[in-house]
């Protein structure tokens, strides 16, 4: 680097806050969280296959307060990443590129994330726990 003083892109802090940047960051953050969730799913499948004490301790772990909080985080991340992923796929198909549409789809994703996550936990808490 010849000139270390030159400004480097992206200077996130100089931009006015926009919903689009938040959703983009959240898409990556939830994606990273869901990779942890993927390994948790593999761990749970192995516990189901092993049965006996392995399953009992896995089930107890998931049913504990900390387990429930982590599962809530996974479910929230999954719903958000799924809905925003569909938004990305629609962009890939060439739909919804106008700025008002981008904002509208963004708020729709936020709203539906809350509704669907609440719905999952309504059925989850009604079913057992």
């Amino acid at each position: 680097m010849a000139n270390r003083e030159r400004p480097l892109s992206p200077h996130l802090q100089v931009y006015r806050w926009q919903i689009t940047m938040t959703m983009s960051i959240l898409h990556r953050a939830t994606g990273i969280a869901l990779v942890v969730g993927a390994f948790a799913l593999a761990w749970w499948l192995l516990a189901v296959a092993a049965g006996g004490e392995a399953y009992a301790s896995a089930a107890a772990c998931l049913a504990s307060p900390l387990g429930k909080i982590v599962l809530f985080g996974f479910s929230l991340s999954l719903v958000y990443h799924l809905l925003n992923g569909i938004r990305h796929l629609l962009w890939d198909a060439g739909w919804g590129f106008e700025i008002p549409e981008v904002y509208r789809s963004g708020y729709t994703v936020f709203g539906l994330t809350v509704v669907l996550t609440a719905l999952i936990w309504f059925f989850a808490l009604r079913g057992g726990a």
């Binding site: 799913l41 189901v48 079913g127």
Partner: protein
């Protein structure tokens, strides 16, 4: 091709143009498979969430018997493969974006590939064991 204007616009060799892989040597492969796995996962997530929620309060025997049903076992296997593939493609880009030391980047990309392959294989092993032995 014989149009001189066309030659000026495109500096690629004919073989390079035919392969269509560009300077990154992988063409649109990453983009395309990320979308294919995304569509598979989007279709399977409602089924997965519904199945997992139905397991709340169920005993081990019920969980095993449900997962052992052919459509559930095949669905879970497809989900696991698409999930770890999609995870590998996503985290690969995160590493490319944030890890600027070449040696660390290569090491992390190796570990990522191994970990995701292991996750998928472990899931398939578990599903097979539930389906055939449980």
């Amino acid at each position: 091709m014989n149009d001189p204007q066309n030659v000026v616009k495109d500096f690629r060799t004919p073989i390079g143009r035919a392969r269509g892989l560009g300077s990154a040597k992988s063409g649109t492969g990453h983009f395309w498979w990320q979308r294919v796995t995304a569509v598979v996962l989007a279709l399977l997530v409602p089924w997965l969430v519904g199945t997992l929620v139905s397991f709340i309060g169920a005993d081990l025997g019920t969980v095993q018997a449900t997962l052992a049903r052919p459509y559930n076992a095949i669905g879970m296997a497809a989900f696991a493969v698409a999930l770890f593939w999609h995870a590998k493609l996503g985290i690969q880009v995160v590493i490319e974006d944030y890890v600027h030391t070449r040696a660390w980047e290569v090491i992390l990309q190796f570990l990522l590939t191994f970990a995701c392959a292991l996750g998928a294989l472990a899931s398939l092993y578990a599903i097979a064991r539930i389906a055939f032995l449980a």
